[in-house]
């Protein structure tokens, strides 16, 4: 299948991310991958639910969690998902500068989220002595939330690499699908966080 990799301004495809065979493959492949990721996080959630009261005499979820911090984190990550939607909107209109701008805002929001998460972990460890090793609850909490945080780190590295690499090249059919798959991945991370917010923090505060 021969594909044009440079864009003809008079004949722009409607959706640059899915106009090549390679782009279609990546789109579908990432969806399948997210299916597998769903199982991965489901297993971490199940483990967490099974162990959340196994505090072994250490701090419990009621002792630890404060909703203010988690609320700010949630707002940051949800907003970053919205800004990535704007970025993809501009990509489909071939407005490269605006796409970069909105992806830039997405990256900043993601970094801010990550900063808060690192602060949160630091706070638990230094102020409560609540670590990965202190109880089964601790292990399950840091593993679930930490794997999500790891996904954020990977997503940010991915986004920054894409933005830097393509800074001077503009939108092409080759990189449009890459930006698009990134945004799908980023939405998934956001959805996982919504569940973490509910299952870990909200349920941890009430029970």
């Amino acid at each position: 299948m021969s594909q044009e990799h440079t864009l003809d301004p008079n004949n722009l495809p409607k959706d640059p991310a899915k106009s090549t065979l390679e782009g279609k493959h990546k789109f579908l492949g990432l969806w399948f991958f997210l299916g597998g990721e769903t199982v991965l996080f489901s297993c971490f959630f199940a483990t967490y639910l099974a162990l959340k009261n196994s505090t072994a005499g250490g701090p419990t979820s009621q002792d630890l969690f404060g909703l203010e911090l988690v609320f700010i984190m949630t707002i940051l990550l949800l907003t970053s998902s919205l800004t990535s939607v704007y970025a993809i909107y501009h990509m489909k209109n071939y407005d490269f500068k605006k796409m970069q701008l909105w992806f830039g805002i997405t990256a900043l929001l993601g970094l801010a989220f990550l900063g808060f998460e690192i602060y949160e972990f630091y706070h638990y460890i230094t102020d409560y002595g609540f670590t990965f090793r202190s109880s089964a609850f601790g292990s399950a909490f840091y593993t679930l939330v930490g794997f999500h945080g790891g996904h954020v780190v990977f997503g940010l590295s991915w986004l920054i690499a894409l933005m830097v690499r393509n800074a001077r090249r503009g939108i092409t059919l080759k990189n449009a699908s890459k930006f698009n798959t990134f945004s799908l991945y980023w939405h998934f991370i956001d959805v996982v966080w919504v569940f973490i917010f509910t299952v870990v923090y909200l349920m941890g505060m009430v029970s």
């Binding site: 021969s2 579908l28 299916g35 597998g36 196994s54």
Partner: protein, 618 residues
Amino acid sequence: MSIASTQQKGFWAILWDYLTTVDHKKLGNMYIAAGAFFFVLGGIEALVIRIQLAKPENDFISAGLYNEMITMHGTTMIFFAAMPILIGFMNAIMPLQIGARDVAFPFLNSLGFWLFLFGGIMLNLSWFLGGAPDAGWTAYAPLSIQSPGHGMDFYILGLQLSGAGTLMGGINFLVTIVTMRAPGMTYMRMPLFTWTTFVASILILFAFPALTVGLFLLMFDRLFGSAFFDVALGGNSVIWQHLFWIFGHPEVYILILPAFGIFSEIIPVFSRKRLFGYTSMVFATFLIAFLGFMVWAHHMFAVGLGPTANAIFAVGTMAIAVPTGIKIFNWLATLWGGSITINSAMLWSLGFIPSFTIGGMTGVMLGATTADYQYHDTYFVIAHFHYVIVGGVVFGILAGLHYWWPKLFGKVLNEAMGKIAFWFFFIGFHLTFFIQHFLGLMGMPRRYWVFLEGQGLDTGNMISTVGAFLMGIGSLVFIINVVYTTVKGEKAGNDPWGDGRSLEWSISSPPKEYNFKQLPLVRGLDPYWIEKMEGNKKMTPAQPVNDIHMPNGSILPLIMTIGFFIASFGFIYQVDNNLWLIALFGGMAIALGSMLARSLVDDYGYHIHKEDLEKEVD
């Protein structure tokens, strides 16, 4: 490239070619070759187990070594022999069957292979680095947490590496089947092997992450001091059992469904009839896959989940017999009234039907919860799962090897040796495992290193050991056959069986690197058969001869894998010495660096030009 130009290359050029290849056919052959190597290793381990159990209170090997043998036999056979060989078939054959020129992600395909291979090497290196894993292939916590030395760590990281590779393979096959079918190849015209590849890939996609999580928890407990399975800190070891079997039960369908697919290809060809009940076969495949996710707790009846949970899982388990029964009857009905040729591929298929049915029957027996308390952890269970896995999967693999050998390597395997191998293996198989049903019912527990004299177990165990050696002879004859055919075999034509029905038989054996010069037009189920019935020698092309886009080879998948491999050693040994963190971070840097390199450097592939294609003969 054609065969002639391959032969002119030097050894290093060929080696480089294989290290960097992204061609699905070469990768398929590499999967099969590596899987066969691990099959021999696992087979030797099986023979050692059987020698130890040949007579009462034998002291052929020590108790500790026996534990290592059973663990490595199970792990090797499931993860590094059966699965890779089947994935090899999927790789080599499935794109040909749907009329595609490659898989959707050739680079990922190569990465998946190398991860599998290095995972297997990792696991087996444990023999030389202080002892193999010894907590059983199921690695139940807390035994696997307390197992001394680094054996279990090699198990964890070896499976983690190869599991990642398998997941990539699954996603790759799914996308390939959805997007790359030739014109006219609708879903309900796909050959059954393609269907089972599709469904097994769905199972891989949704089952392997559960294993990934389980292995992470085990790794964190063993290497980083977490407390998932440490009861003193509130941990719960049953979590491992759930995660393992949420993966583990679909895993047996990941193995058996492609084998079902292989039989569904072979039986119609050698009966000269179309597959009976094609639609119901597809439906049954999906139903088995769906139910396969609902029954994991039947491995845990004796844990104490309670009568309600046990009853639900018992019913689900028995329900699987229905779609499986549909398949058995469809194969029988395909044979019925057919013009049957009995050759090696067909012998393995015919041997499969009764053998697998026995295994399915004992499966229903084991599914009856109350009775299961009697069977649990006895040789009855061993007999059951060897009947389904050897009688189903291994027979399927051997049938598939005979059937597709000409397509993979361009030569037909020797028939006489094929039949000798079958009879040795088939008789040996039943001798080994049939008697084990009774040993189990008499109370012989599994995983025990010795049994006592005078408990009625002596003769049965001796018979079982003799049978194992007959299977060994059968395997040896097959290997001799492979060597003999490679040296002396005659070149095969496009359609060596004469009655090939699916697209792979319409192209040369082995196929050109681009598979189809022109994509074929598919006009129905069994497209090549339809064309032959209308007197055509070739498929009707769906497009004119044009430039063909091909992916570039790359060494990056291998480098990436070596990075993860080094990092795995870092993970294992950082417990002993912090200096190993250098290996951990260094390995990760290599792996992530090559991922970045792959992402930053655009790879547009190359084109085989129309003019060159027109010069090639079909």
